[in-house]
Symmetry: C2
Subunit: 603 residues, 2 copies
């Protein structure tokens, strides 16, 4: 099977050579997941992705979703794909088998998700929403709620969504106005309007279970007064059977730039006063429930964006190997044309895409691996350390990765020249689909504020320091390897400068120049991400060097040499620019803050 979604050799490298996931199977929780099982899972995911999801990527984009009188129809091909996806039990890969989950390590599930999202990310949105909604039930539901809903959601019999955004409450969730009034029987009557609800309505499933953020009558304003409710599309009787329509109506779907296979719904709750929900978790604790889910949701968005980039890279690479155009630049005039992979500028673009693709994969899988380590660890201090590292990496995994993924998809169009702009090839769709990953689940501006405002100071800065300690370990190992000394020194210099940048931002915050610090939040996310990428690529180079010393097979030699080239390229051609960006942050120019509204022009 061709490498058209994610390079299997690279997926295996991260799983087995970089993270050594097999070590997880030494612990009871993951004992089934030895190397053989992991490989089988990845192979099955890859198989399903390439054979059943990828072929309908374009068709679903063109067909899109349609809306008619409250009903939403998803692309036809998604019905078959969904059936296969549920049969393969892919919705709840990491979850409790008691509720229909597979109990898989997160790292392995991410590899599977890399294939699924890289093949057909708009299709995958349905499943991710179902899973996320189910997870809320698992984490915050009563026994009865779990019994009624959970297995059906985890196995895809019922779908799920997440009713959060309102027209005037987007980034500012606390502004929401959806209202919940207790009925005295344990249920609440819900009224309100929500927008931008992925899979809020669709014809894949017989019932959709909506977690809904709403404010109980009389609750405080802002985020402190928000509660979470479980609101099914069709009510569910005590015996689990499906009841009457619950007055949750889809009032329309958005026309969008991309992800046309995923319906983005406007939802009206309780228009006829008949919408009832049950509290999920505690009163006024809706936002903390959201926060519990947020890491997983944001990691998934990073995976969505990255998967677009990963596929775009392989398409570009395969195309560049076949497309003949122009003689080699060093060949005598009149020489025959060569595949464009031989042209220096195309090689630079491809290595840009390759190194970013690899570094991003390592970051995402690593976050999953940290989650797995929490599960198998019995040392509370370790668990806290892993959790801190995850918390710091989440804005990078979501914000930095989707920013870069979009850039990579743009490069991926460029390699195809004029063809890249046509719908004949998937490159332009990947670019269009990828764009939303920078925006939803907290815009990347919000991610940047999360990193600077919350994560940098988390546990008095220990989380950030713990992460850098891991980076340092790799640098130290690399410094002992003669061929990597220079690269290690350069990553080291970047880390040192990152710390100076942190210090400088800390001083600005300390002087209470909050706005000045936050004007640098996004650039700071950028440079933090670049540093982490440098770390991951250096780590890969360390392993590759060691493996090359063991005289591997010919094909592996190429792969490991490719790892060294990725690291060399990124560290020499990206990190010096990163250090320029760090200088910008430290200079802390305030023009953007000082300029008056009139001076921006217009009106």
């Amino acid at each position: 099977m061709a490498q058209v979604v994610a390079d299997r050799r690279d997926v295996d490298f991260v799983l087995h050579e970089q993270l050594n996931v097999e070590q997880l199977s030494r612990h009871a929780q993951f004992e089934e997941f030895n190397k053989k099982t992991v490989d089988m899972v990845v192979s099955e995911a890859r198989n399903l992705a390439i054979k059943e999801l990828l072929p309908y990527l374009k068709e679903a984009d063109e067909e899109g979703c349609s809306f008619d009188n409250g009903k939403v129809t998803v692309p036809k091909a998604f019905h078959r794909a969904y059936k296969l996806f549920c049969e393969g039990e892919w919705i709840a890969m990491c979850d409790n088998p008691d509720w229909g989950g597979q109990g898989m390590p997160a790292t392995v599930a991410l590899a599977a998700n890399n294939y699924f999202n890289g093949a057909n990310y708009p299709f995958m949105l349905h499943n991710i929403l179902s899973h996320g909604a189910g997870k809320l039930v698992e984490c915050f539901g009563t026994d009865k709620q779990k019994e009624l809903f959970l297995e059906k959601m985890y196995t895809g019999v019922w779908g799920g969504s997440m009713l959060l955004t309102e027209p005037e409450a987007g980034s500012d969730v606390g502004a929401l106005t959806t209202k919940a009034v207790p009925n005295g029987d344990g249920t609440y009557s819900i009224t309100g309007n929500k927008i931008f609800i992925s899979s809020g309505e669709n014809d894949l499933v017989e019932n959709i279970i909506h977690p809904v953020l709403a404010r109980i009558e009389g609750a405080p304003a802002g985020t402190a007064g928000i509660s979470l409710f479980l609101v099914p599309k069709f009510r569910v009787h005590d015996d689990g059977s499906q009841g009457d329509f619950n007055d949750v109506i889809c009032t329309g779907i958005e026309e969008k730039m991309g992800i046309h296979g995923s319906p983005t719904c406007s939802m009206a709750l309780g228009g006829k006063g008949q919408c009832k929900g049950t509290l999920l978790g505690q009163e006024n604790r809706g936002m903390s429930a959201m926060f519990v889910m947020m890491n997983e949701a944001r990691l998934h968005v990073g995976m969505q964006g990255f998967s677009c980039a990963s596929t775009s890279y392989l398409n570009a690479l395969n195309y560049a190997k076949e497309r003949v155009q122009g003689a080699a630049i060093t060949a005598p005039k009149g020489s025959p044309g060569v595949p464009i992979i031989q042209h220096p500028d195309i090689r630079r673009i491809l290595l840009t895409m390759k190194s970013h693709s690899e570094g991003m994969r390592s970051i995402l899988y690593y976050v999953g691996f940290m989650e797995d380590m929490i599960h198998i660890s019995d040392n509370e201090e370790d668990k806290a350390r892993y959790q801190g590292i995850i918390d710091v990496l989440i804005p990078v995994a979501k914000g930095y990765i989707t920013d870069r993924a979009f850039d990579m998809c743009s490069h991926g169009v460029h390699v195809f020249g004029g063809y890249g702009f046509t719908r004949e090839y998937p490159q332009e769709q990947l670019l269009r689909d990828c764009k939303i990953t920078q925006i939803y689940e907290g815009t990347n501006g919000i991610q940047a504020m999360d990193l600077l405002g919350r994560k940098l100071g988390l546990n008095k800065g220990k989380a950030f320091t713990d992460l850098l300690a891991e980076v340092q370990k790799t640098i130290d190992r690399a410094k002992d390897i003669p061929g990597l000394k220079l690269l290690a020194d350069m990553v080291d210099a970047t880390v040192v400068k990152l710390m100076e940048t942190v210090k400088s931002l800390g001083a600005v915050m300390g002087a209470n120049n909050i706005s000045a610090a936050f004007a640098q939040a996004h650039p700071f996310l950028d440079v933090t991400g670049d540093t982490i990428m440098g770390w991951m690529l250096l780590w890969r180079a360390v392993i590759a060097t060691q493996k090359l010393a063991d005289k591997p097979k010919k094909k592996d030699i190429s792969f490991y040499e490719g790892q060294l080239k990725s690291a060399q390229f990124f560290i020499h051609s990206v990190l010096p620019v990163t250090r320029g960006k760090m200088e910008v942050i430290m200079t802390g120019d305030t023009a953007a803050l000082d300029i008056s509204e009139e001076a921006f022009g217009a009106k």
Copy 2:
């Protein structure tokens, strides 16, 4: 009329305060174009753009073009717009009035084009193609060809196109296979297939005149054997009346990411052996004819990309002033929401868009101004100097500007949050439309090679040095202004480093490491463009400082202060990153060249 396409104050600033276009009217060629006339032209263009083109931007995107049995239908609304456009005589703004042109300075025409393209760039493609084809007739046609075709093309009675690309001849034009066989009567029989032909077929005009690149039987291979032919869709009798169909058939149109209002046609010539054309210019000199047209065409593409960015900025700015979301970051908890323009990250994005938008406008108009200076100058040395500066700036105006324009359109989506991804707002369309400007008329990779391989060494490097001498003049002026000394020093340092970069690339080329040099071509285009932007913004700041000293009106004070902020922001927040990129070029890492094809992965 609202500022929704291009900020009129800024357009006027470049025309009158930065370039002082009125000086052109002191010369016979442009004597009609005093300030009053210039302002009237811009006002009329703006009026037509905002009232008649902008309202159909979305409609035309959704309707698109349709193809049926050789016929292409453009969006309905374009018919009325086209009629008005022709009535206003906007197709041949700068051309000879004897042939239906308006004899306008190029600088002024660019301002008009800024409005037209910013309002509806897909519509404008029709007109730009007609004009470009007409220009070829004007430059290379015989008296008879001009008499038969030119006025009708310049006035829009007939359309034009440009048949260059073939499936196997894109960036490599020399690979084309379209054949021309002399018939002995001065005509040639043409056979071949062309792709990606904008406006190759459409229902706006009764006849379409196609300049076609083809190889005369027996001519040399490669670019040296390419000739240019004039091939009308319907033959034209000697008396100018329209004759039979000329066997030029549109065989289909592309489905594309954007510019849906512009049909991208596949064309079959001579499928029935009935396609006849006449030679335009000399045998085997087709490529030099192309080169004569290339500067104009590429400048226009820069204008197209920039205009998308210019509109995207104003939309983002207007939205940010109105969209209330979240309390100010420094406000106590529970404070009411504020317009998002008050949030530091949004301000940073907006000032990024503003400064780039302004710098790009100055670059483009400046190139037009240099063209005008050639027309009015009677000193051959000056003319050559202006031409050299234009030649160096063209890859910047096309390549650098469209790269940055795409980034700005991406920012423009982001400011709208989730709404930016929907078709309810124009931001996503501007991003989609803008993408092709990086690709067509020579991909930006080709532009980068043009800058490094041709333009840097043009006239033994004199052209590049002449350009930098102009930059230096501004720096020297700015250094004498106390408030601008620091900014001037930083631009100066950037120029010095650019020269070091040039020297370093020269050494690499000198050592015959051609591939190594060209692997840095695109980064070099990038840093050259940034430096030119820094120059333009510093130049604007010099003028603004002087004007502020004259105690201007309140509204102008804001505008000039905005100019100072743009310069401050760009020079402090972009140029340090640029200098990092220069270091990367000088390091000249060769990983992208050294990596083996296998090591890229896949297959």
